[in-house]
Amino acid sequence: MEIRTSIPNEPSLIERTKISTRVMAGRAFLIKTPPCTTYLKNMTSWLMTGSHGALIYGRPRLGKTSATRWVLKMLPNVLGNVPSLEVPVRGQKIASERAFFQHMLRCARHRHAMGGSAGDKRDRLTEWLVSRAMRSPVNAVVIFFDEAQLLTDGHYDWLLNISNELDARGCRLFCLLVGQSELAGVKTKLIDGGKEQIVGRFMVREMEFSGINSEKDLANCFKEFDQTFYPLESKILFSENFVPKAVKNGFTLQKICPGVWAEFRNKWIDAGLEQEPVIPMHYLTATIIGILNSLVSKDNYDLDVPQDLIQKSIAASGYIESLRALKASIR
């Protein structure tokens, strides 16, 4: 009989909660998923071919923001230093030049974000972008607008101005417009409104971001989770934080992949949806965290994962509710 106290590194509840919340908030680590790989490939080719912007849209909770962060983090390995600025767009009833540029400067952690006139702020931002673009091998700087569907015509005009100013200095502004599916609608609306210059500049390239939609993708994704160390410096595998004994004996998340996929598929069919199932990253991560947390008490060298545990975890992740909302939107 084993004595529980002798198990090394058994994580306490608090530790586990910390890890779980961090992972869910996207602050722990970024996972390479198959859609991410496509995204990175596209992004590289866009930057290499001299595009000035791209639209990335998709349904909620797919992991667009995290994927973009991952792509921007990986770009230096492909192209060398590509400076970027992440701007979570604020919805404004009336677009204000001053507020917009001040917000961008604050996102850039600029020291003098608050002082001066709107023109000063604009110049400050341009100089900030130029000084960074000049040091990049592709002579470009990427601004990543999160929730870009909130940008209005005025905002686009200002971005156009900045882009032109950078052009005059021999640099390029790349606007990565990431947002909900309605972003595709914004493009048509701009074309209808005769704002072709904006579409031509920033929206020629587009990509619909999708979730995990095959068992193979899911297996790849689980493989990434299995190979991740967390915390990074501790050299402990991510799942080892929850089920150390089982991991030592060769337990991997990949082993439960068919069970998880089948269960997600069931939920999809149950919701009355057609085609292949799509799993947004948010729910997938929540499910994995749920499964691992439930397994803590069952940790053993020959760990077996019951199917109902998977089922419960998926239900707890909120996937079913999201499917209902999807169904409603399709109608």
């Binding site: 600029h110 020291r111 003098h112 002082g115 001066g116 000063d120 702020k121 110049d123 400050r124 100089e127 900030w128 000084s131 200095r169 021999g170």
Partner: protein, 555 residues
């Protein structure tokens, strides 16, 4: 830091004051910095924080330090030059157009840019202190900001893609070369101090020439650095050795520029009085001869004119009529050479303001009690004798009809004057002789330069006397006095060669010159005669009403 600050203010659209506040955040709270230090060198400056804030590499911020280029104490003591100074913005036009400015440009004795070899320009914009805690280098921010961004033109050029100083490696290499020279000179000087316990003393007008002399005398001259210091090359003459005791050597080394000049004057007086002819005096006589050569006829014509002019020198006559005896009037003498000779006459005047000391004979006689008798006992001695007062009147002496000038009022000046002064003796006299010789050569070339530029001076209306003074200062020699085992050694750095320039001889063959002079003399003579008649008339009319004039001039 100045360059960084100016660019920071421009790029971030903030005022210079704001930058000052930002900078102050990275300095310790109660810091007081000397004027000539750089912010980066301030003790406790958070350099890594500052580089993070600017998002610039740490090495770039480190390069703003002046620690490397600051001169050692020995260097400063010997050359009497200061360290980097931030009291005025000095810059190279090329560098400035490229948006570059270096702390190296602020070394006041450096004449040219270390990258482009262009003369450095001192700017009119006065640097202002922006924050009382900040170091001197921040004072330049405003001036740099003005010159870069005050006029859009310069900065637009800086934005262009073809920068000549964009190559950081070459800038770094050039700067390093200069810094290496400075530190090599400093360590060589320290070595000398250790072995001979006395540093050389360098005396001279221009700071850059003193630095060059120092570098040359400790054998660390670098062709490139010498070129940056001066437009003219300085040649070092044969080293002279003088035997004297250690005490004498110490006393001589303590003599400053003022006392040396007084001694030079005294030596001139004594040589005149005793009819001694040391080498410098022979050189002077040679110069006189060269100047007169071929211009005897001009002198004769001049003398005629002179006599007419003297007659107009009556009380109340307008000043412009005292020509052509004014030095400033190249245009009013029939022959240029006459003006040159007049200049020389004034320079070698031992009684009035002497070129060497800037003092008159009376001044020297009055001030002679400033000498400390005990200290100088065997280096100076008292001398009494008469000097001939016409020694320097070259034109007068060489005129064929050596007429006696009309005496206007009172008694004529006596030909001789009593002098009672202290004069150098022993090794000091020898040293003074050598110095005088090099000065005479520099005077020769300065005169030559003035005569060469005479047409330009007449056209521009510039004062030839001022021009001559500038030339004299520019060409004045530099001396390095140093102790050695047997006494003293003197190195003279001369900016002019020890030979006569090719004076354009008036020559008897050049008939056109003579004709021209004759013609001019006639014209001027007529002019003076007319004025003389007029002045006389007025004089006669008004004289009775002027009560303080009790004596009429003899006619």
């Amino acid at each position: 830091m100045a360059s960084l600050g100016a660019k920071y203010c421009h790029l971030n659209r903030v005022s210079i004051k704001v930058f000052g506040e930002v900078l102050a955040e990275f300095l310790p709270p109660d810091v007081s910095t000397p004027e000539s230090t750089c912010t980066v060198d301030t003790v406790g400056f958070n350099i890594s924080g500052f580089s993070k804030m600017l998002d610039e590499p740490l090495a770039l911020i480190r390069s703003q330090s002046a620690r490397q280029i600051s001169l050692g104490a020995t260097f400063q003591e010997v050359c009497l030059v200061g360290n980097v100074s931030f009291n005025e913005l000095r810059s190279c036009p090329e560098c400035l157009a490229d948006g570059y400015h270096s702390t190296l440009h602020q070394l006041s004795w450096l004449k040219k840019c270390f990258l482009h070899s262009l003369p450095l320009v001192e700017h009119r914009i006065r640097p202002k202190s922006i924050h009382r805690h900040l170091s001197g280098d921040t004072k330049l921010i405003g001036a740099l900001y003005q010159s870069w961004f005050g006029t859009e033109r310069v900065w637009h050029e800086a934005y262009s893609s073809t920068w000549t100083v964009s190559n950081n490696t070459s800038i770094y290499q050039s700067a390093k070369n200069l810094v290496k020279q400075i530190s090599a000179t400093e360590s060589a000087l320290i070595e000398i101090q250790r072995h001979h316990d006395q540093l050389p003393r360098v005396i001279g007008n221009s700071a850059s020439a003193r630095v060059m002399m120092t570098m040359k005398s400790v054998n660390t001259p670098n062709k490139k650095v010498i070129e940056l210091l001066m437009p003219v090359n300085c040649s070092i003459k044969r080293t002279h050795y003088f035997q004297c005791t250690t005490e004498q050597a110490n006393t001589i080394l303590q003599l400053d520029k003022y006392y040396l000049s007084v001694l030079m004057h005294a030596r001139q007086l004594m040589c005149n009085s005793l009819q001694l002819t040391p080498l410098w005096k022979q050189t002077l006589k040679g110069l006189e001869k060269k100047l007169i050569n071929g211009h005897e006829k001009c002198l004769r014509h001049f003398q005629k004119l002179h006599l007419v002019g003297m007659l107009i020198r009556v009380p109340g006559a307008p000043y412009d009529l005292r020509a052509p005896f004014d030095l400033s009037l190249f245009s009013k003498v029939p022959c240029k050479r006459l003006a040159t000779i007049r200049c020389l006459e004034e320079m070698i005047d031992i009684e009035q303001l002497n070129q060497a000391s800037g003092l008159s004979l009376s001044d020297i006689s009055f001030r002679q009690n400033t000498w400390d008798q005990a200290e100088f006992s065997d280096l100076i001695s008292q001398y009494s004798g008469f000097i001939s007062r016409n020694e320097n009147r070259i034109i007068h002496m060489h005129s064929e009809n050596n007429e006696v000038e009309p005496v206007l009022q009172g008694q004529p000046d006596p030909d001789r004057r009593l002098v009672n002064i202290y004069v150098p003796s022993g090794p000091l006299a020898q040293i003074i002789d050598e110095m005088l010789l090099s000065y005479i050569w520099s005077w020769t070339w300065a005169l030559f330069s003035v005569e060469m530029q005479s047409n330009l001076l007449v056209d521009s209306g510039a004062d030839p006397k001022k021009f001559l003074a500038k030339e004299l200062e520019k060409l004045s020699p530099i001396f390095a006095i140093q102790k050695n085992s047997t006494g003293l050694m003197l190195r003279i750095g001369s900016l002019v060669p020890y030979r006569h320039p090719s004076w354009k001889a008036g020559s008897k063959m050049d008939s056109t010159h003579i004709l021209e002079v004759e013609h001019k003399t006639k014209m001027m003579g007529a002019f003076f005669q007319a004025r003389l008649a007029k002045v006389k008339e007025e004089y006669e009319r008004y004289l009775p009403r002027l009560p303080w004039i009790d004596q009429r001039p003899s006619k």
